[in-house]
Every structure is written in C-alpha cells, then in structure tokens.
Symmetry: C2
Amino acid sequence: MRAGLLYSAGKDSTLAALLLEDFYDVVLVTASFGVVDPEPAREAAAALGFPHETVDVDPEVARDAVSRMYDDGYPRNGIQQVHEHALERVAAAEWTDDLDAVADGTRRDDRVPTVDRPLAQRVEDRFDVDYLAPLSGIGRGAIDDMVADTLVVETGPSAEVPKADYEVELRTLLREAHGDEAVAEVFPDHTQSRVRGRRDRHEA
Amino acid sequence: MRAGLLYSAGKDSTLAALLLEDFYDVVLVTASFGVVDPEPAREAAAALGFPHETVDVDPEVARDAVSRMYDDGYPRNGIQQVHEHALERVAAAEWTDDLDAVADGTRRDDRVPTVDRPLAQRVEDRFDVDYLAPLSGIGRGAIDDMVADTLVVETGPSAEVPKADYEVELRTLLREAHGDEAVAEVFPDHTQSRVRGRRDRHEA
C-alpha cells in the first residue's frame, strides 16, 4: 500500500511517517505556493530514506488565507484553510493515481490544523483514498519522547530554521503584503523544528 | 519507554500494539471482572511476541454498567463507563510503576468507546503517564487493510469467537441478570475478531 504524507521536515510530520512506514510505502509530499524552496524537505526526506514529491498549491488560496490571518490577527483560520486545500491537492495530484491513502502530522493537542471526522470522511469519499492522522490520538509529551528517541532534530526560532512548510510561505506572503509588524502580530515567536535524520538507536 | 495497552485479542488493540512497538516496549494488558478466562488474550499475546498482564476491574463498575445497558437498551454508555475505568486500572496497577504510557485501540470511527481530549488529559494528569490512541486518527477501511497485511485473524459471530474483553464479560453478566433476550436486545449480533498471530509478509 502507498501513502502520500503532507511533509514539512518538522518533527510531527516526520514522526507520522515513522509510525506508518511498517504498513505503507510512504511518499513525503511538500505543498508549495512557489514562494519558498522545498529543498529542506527534500534533504530531510533523503536523510530519512523516503521518496519525496512536491505539489503546487493554488496561490489564490494562499492570498485568501493571508488576508484572513491579517484581518483575524492570528493565524488559525488561515492555516486551517491552507491545510485542507493542501491535503486535497495531495489526494488529487496526477502522480497519486496509485495512492491508497493521504496522511499528515496533525496532533491531538494541535489547535490548528485540525482534521475532524467529517472533513476526513469528505476527503476519503471525494478522492477515494483513506485519510490517516497517526498522531491525532497522541499528546505533546509522548510525541516529544518518541521524537527524542528516534530523530535528530534542529530547533530554533521560526525565522532561523529553514523549513519547507506553507507556514513559512504564509509568513513570507504576509510580510510582502503587510510588513514585518504584521508577521510579528499574527505569528508570535515560536520554536520551529527541522529534522536532520534518524537517530542511531544505540546512541540514545 | 514502556506502554501498557488495554488488550482484548481483537484486531484493533493488536494493530495499536504494532503501531507502537517501534517506539515503546509494549505490555498487553487484559482487564477482567473475573467472569471470563483471559486465556485467549494471553495466547494471542504470546503468538505476537508481547508480554501479557491482567488487571482486575471493580465488579461494582461492571454491575452498574450492566444495569445501565439494560435500562438504555443499547450498550454504548455502559461500555464507555467500563472502558474509562479499565484504562484507569491499567494506569494505577502496582506493576505499572515504570509505565511511561497507557494505550488502547479506540478508532476514529468507533461510536464507543471514545476517549476525547479532556478524558485523555485527565488520565495523563492523574496518573502521570501519557495516553496513546494510535488508531484514533485512522478510519475503518485503512485499519482493515493494515490488519489484512500484517495479522492472521479469525472472525465469526460474537458468541463463537473466544475473546477476553470486557464486552464478553458484560454480556455474560447481562445474561445472568436478565436472560438471553436482554443480551439479544442490547447487543445485536455482530462479528467479532480474534487475532491468532502475525502474517508472514512474504505470504501476503
């Protein structure tokens, strides 16, 4: 069986891939508006031993999401909108004809993005794939422990850790449209993680 | 890290164990009111290569649940009550001093039992363990596919497949208290599964 997993090089989507790899041939898929370089995700995928693909996301959806985040003053609804669109793009991509499932790294304790059961079933029915969210029944503490045991991770402030997720792209678009102040207001500083590879179990 | 997983020998709890085994030393734990024999679960655990334990569940909770199911005419609330109690008993058992996590096989599409985020966090805070529900972001179709690829399963009507879960015990208690008719009304016939071992990947 083959699963396409929405991939950012962050620890959540990487751990999701590790949970599924005994059951699926996992392809890591980075969604891009064409604003940032998907290279960090491609490098992480190679270090982990997974194939990697990119899908283009509709720039109109990105612009809408940026307006919404600016109006809201917080990123939640905008990110949710883009995540749903990105999932659908993975399910609908041409090379995904033989995908049995689409997957992502959404967690139990995430406030955003969330994929509730009706949305999951809508994606499943519309694209005739299963939707898998292997971290959605696992809390933050357990995820951190599982990551520490299995992955080599680089962490730092969002601005300094190169990642290839659409959050980085949305920040870039927000900066272009409304300046640095808007970015600081909508995305208060938080730590990002970028996976560099698997941890040798014997060194843990 | 060590996880105690509530175990019935059914395919859901077995698949949950397989999803976690790369990250945790998984102990399969069967909750029992002392009504049925935990032997089927012990046999399945041995065939799968996991250690197995039992925990006793308060018979008073079972009696309450049976009354509730009889009054309701359906099993949902009674089973939910017993599941929550069983999870807490696993977390609190004496031999579980060194458990990092408790886990179960609840699925996204289950109507019962469900462990929502507040309940999960209550268990985590009260017993200082993580709660893991690795199937809670995975739908029925994907679970069936993953099971078919990895496990040898015996299926049949509930009454004929020997299992060691508290649903079997609750049916027995209901029969003792209210007769066969009550069992037929509360638990309409449904198919049960019992895992016999791992499938050799090369034969799939």
